[in-house]
Symmetry: none
Subunit: 221 residues, 4 copies
Amino acid sequence: MSTPSLLDPERAATREQLIAAAGAVFADSGFRGATVRDICQKAGANVAAVNYHFGDKQGLYTEVLRRNYQRAIERFPGAGGIPAGASAEARLLAFIRSFLQRIFAEGVDSCHGRLLAREMIDPTPALDALVAVEIRALADQLTAIVRELLPRGDDVASVRLCMASVVSQIVFYHHCQPVIRRMFPELHFTPSNLEALAQHVTRFSLAGIRDVGRGRTSKRH
Amino acid sequence: MSTPSLLDPERAATREQLIAAAGAVFADSGFRGATVRDICQKAGANVAAVNYHFGDKQGLYTEVLRRNYQRAIERFPGAGGIPAGASAEARLLAFIRSFLQRIFAEGVDSCHGRLLAREMIDPTPALDALVAVEIRALADQLTAIVRELLPRGDDVASVRLCMASVVSQIVFYHHCQPVIRRMFPELHFTPSNLEALAQHVTRFSLAGIRDVGRGRTSKRH
Amino acid sequence: MSTPSLLDPERAATREQLIAAAGAVFADSGFRGATVRDICQKAGANVAAVNYHFGDKQGLYTEVLRRNYQRAIERFPGAGGIPAGASAEARLLAFIRSFLQRIFAEGVDSCHGRLLAREMIDPTPALDALVAVEIRALADQLTAIVRELLPRGDDVASVRLCMASVVSQIVFYHHCQPVIRRMFPELHFTPSNLEALAQHVTRFSLAGIRDVGRGRTSKRH
Amino acid sequence: MSTPSLLDPERAATREQLIAAAGAVFADSGFRGATVRDICQKAGANVAAVNYHFGDKQGLYTEVLRRNYQRAIERFPGAGGIPAGASAEARLLAFIRSFLQRIFAEGVDSCHGRLLAREMIDPTPALDALVAVEIRALADQLTAIVRELLPRGDDVASVRLCMASVVSQIVFYHHCQPVIRRMFPELHFTPSNLEALAQHVTRFSLAGIRDVGRGRTSKRH
DNA sequence: CATGAATGAGCCTTCATTCAT
DNA sequence: CATGAATGAAGGCTCATTCAT
C-alpha cells in the first residue's frame, strides 16, 4: 500500500488547482454565490473533485481561506520587514504599509483581502481559527507599538481604542471601496498612492495616539 | 367606510409588513441568502405577495434599503441635531455620535447598518441611488467640518484623507464586529460605550486633522 | 331595477374591448400562452374583468372565437358573393377566393385565420359548436359545387376526397406559413398574389375533379 | 466490465428514455403545455435530468424534434423506396404514399407528425434547422418530379404552385384532423385507407399538374 | 482512486382565480 | 356592479451532494 497522497503528483496538482480556482471564485462571489461546478470547471477537475479532496464545499473554503492568509502574511509580514528594535514610529509606518499592501495586493494575491472582507459580513467557522492564531499575532504587534507610544500605565481601554483607530483607517479603503469608487471615481490604489496613504494614516494616527496619551483633561490644547 | 384606502388599517399593511420582514431577513442572510418564502412567511403574506407588490425580489430589496436608510437618517440626522452655527469641534462630535448611533441602532433599526455593510461586499444597483443622494449629503457635511478645521486653502486630497480617517473609525466597529467580538468577547456596544467611543474618535480625529493641517514638514513636533 | 346590461354603455364597451384585445392576444400566443393580465391591460380593464364578464378565461375564448368567425364570414361570405345560379366553375372560384381572403385577412380580421389554425392543433370545446354549424354550412356549399362537377351518382367517398383536395390547397398557404416563409422568403401574400393563387387552385382542382369523375379505369389518358 | 460506456445498458438509457417520453408529451401538449416534471416522471428520471442531459427544456425539445424526424424519414424515405429511374408518375405516387405514412405513423412514430404540425403554429428555433436541411431535401425531390411532369421551360412559379397543391393535400388530413373527425366521425386512417388516399391525391394531382402544363389559355378544354 | 451520471430539495417566478369592499 | 389586493398551485431551473463503476 503506497502513499499516493504524497507520491502522486497528479493528485496534488488537482488539489492545488482546486484551491487556486476556488480562491478566485470565492473572492468574487462569496461562499454562497460560488458554485462547486464553476470552481471545478475552472480547475479542470471533475464535479465530484471538491467533495473527494475536501469533504465538502465548506472544507474547501476553510482551506482556501487559510492558504490565502498564509501566502499574504508571508509576502507582506506583519512587522513590515523592519527590525524589532526600530523606533515605534518607524514600526507603526511599516505595520500600516505592510497591512495596506496585503489587502490591496493584486492578481492571485488579491483573494486574501476580499475573502477576509466577506468574512466580516458572513463569518464562517473558518474565521475562528484565523482570529485565534493569525490575527491575534498581528494585534499583539500593534499592541506593542501603541503601548510604546502611550505613556506607561495607560489603561487597556485606551490602547484598544487607539489600535482600533489605526486598523480602521487601513481596512476602510478596501472595505468601503464600493462607496469610495462611486464617490471618487478618479481615485485608484496604485503602489505610490498606497505609500501616500500609509504616510497619511501613520501621521494621523501618531497625532491621535499622542493626544490620547496626554490624558483625559486635555481634550483641547 | 367611504375612504377605505385611508381608514382601513389592513390596506397596504401587507406591503409594510413585507418591508419590515424583508429588512430583518435581508440583514441576516443577505440578498442571495434570503428567500422570498421566508420573508413572506414572516410577513404573514402569500408567496406571490412580493411579486405583486414589488415586481420581484430585487424590487423589494431596493425598497427595503431605501426605507431603512430613510428611517435611520430621520432618527439620527447627519448633523446630530446640533445647530449649523456650532463650533467645528462640536459639530464633529455630533456627526460622529449620530453616525455611530445610526449604524449601531438596535431592534428593527439595526437593519440599516447591516444592510449597508452587505452592500460594501456585494454592491447591488440599489447602492448607486443611495450614494448619489444620501451618502453624498453626509459627505458634504463632513467636508464642511474638516475644511473648517484645516487651514484655508488646504488641498482636496488632504481633506479627503482626513474625512476617510474619521469615517473609517466610525464604521470599523460595526463592520469588523466578527473579529472584534472574537478578540474581545467582553466588549459590548451599550449606549454609554457608544458615547465613549464617539468621544475617543472625535478626540483622536481632531488631533489627527490638526496635525495634517500643520503641513508636510512637521511630521513630528 | 334597471337593465344595466343593456343600458350601460360602459359595461358593453369594456366587454367589447376585452373581446378585441383577447382576439389579438389569443391569435398571437394561443389559449395557453395568452395571459388574462395581458388581455385586460390591453383592453384597459381590470384584472378581474375577464372572470366578471365571461366567467373565466375559457368563456372569453369561446366568445372570441365565435365573434371572429362571425365577422370573417360576414365580410367574406362562403359563396363569395356569387349568385347561386352561377356555373359550378364560377362558384368554385368564388368559394376558393373568398376562403383565401377570409384566412389571409389583415389587421383585426387576421385573428380569425390564426385562431382557427390553432384550433386544429389544440382543439377546445369551442370548436365543436363551430364545426356543427358554421363549418358544416361551408362544407355543404362546397359539396354542392363538387357534386355538380362530378357525374351524377358518384359515390360519397369521391366527393369527400375532392372536397378535401380543394380545401387543403386553400388552407395550406396559411397553415404552413412557417415553412413556406423559410423556404421562399420572397413570397408575400398580397391581394394580387391571393387572386393568382385562387386562379391556380381553381384550375388545378377543376382538372383533378374532372379526372376523378372519369372513373377508376382511366388513371391515365 | 471494462467498457461500461458500451456494455452497460443503463448507460445513456436515461437520456433515451427522456427523449422518448418527451416526444409523447410534447406531441400531446406542445412545448409550453408540456411540463418537465411530467416528462421526467414518465421517463423514470429525476426532475433535474432534463437540465443535466439537455441544458434546459428547449434543448430537450430540439433534440426530440430532430430525432423524431430522423426516425420518420429513415422508416419512410422521401422517395418512397422507388428507384430514381422510375417514371415521374410512379415516383409521385411513392412520394405521396411515403409522406402520408410518415405523418400518419402510429405508436411512438406518431410524434413526428404531431410535433411538426405544432411547429407550423408556434415555430421554435428548432424548425429553422429542419427546414434548412431535411425539408429542403424533400422539396428538391418533389421539384424534380413536378418538373418532369410539366413541359420544359415552365416558370418557377408554376412549379411551386403545383408542389404546394400536392403537399397541401397530403398534410391536410393530418393537420385538420380535429375538423375532419368532427365532420366525418366514421373516417379512420387505416393502412388501406391511407393507400386509397395516396391513390386519390396522386390522380388528382397528376390531372392538375398536366392541366397547368397546358398553359394559360386553356383554362377549359 | 476518480469520475460522470443522477438526485432531491429548494428557489424565484408566473398566473388564473377569488374575495372583500 | 366593479375593482384592486391577495392567493396557492405549479413551473422551470439550480446546486451541493451521492453513488456505482
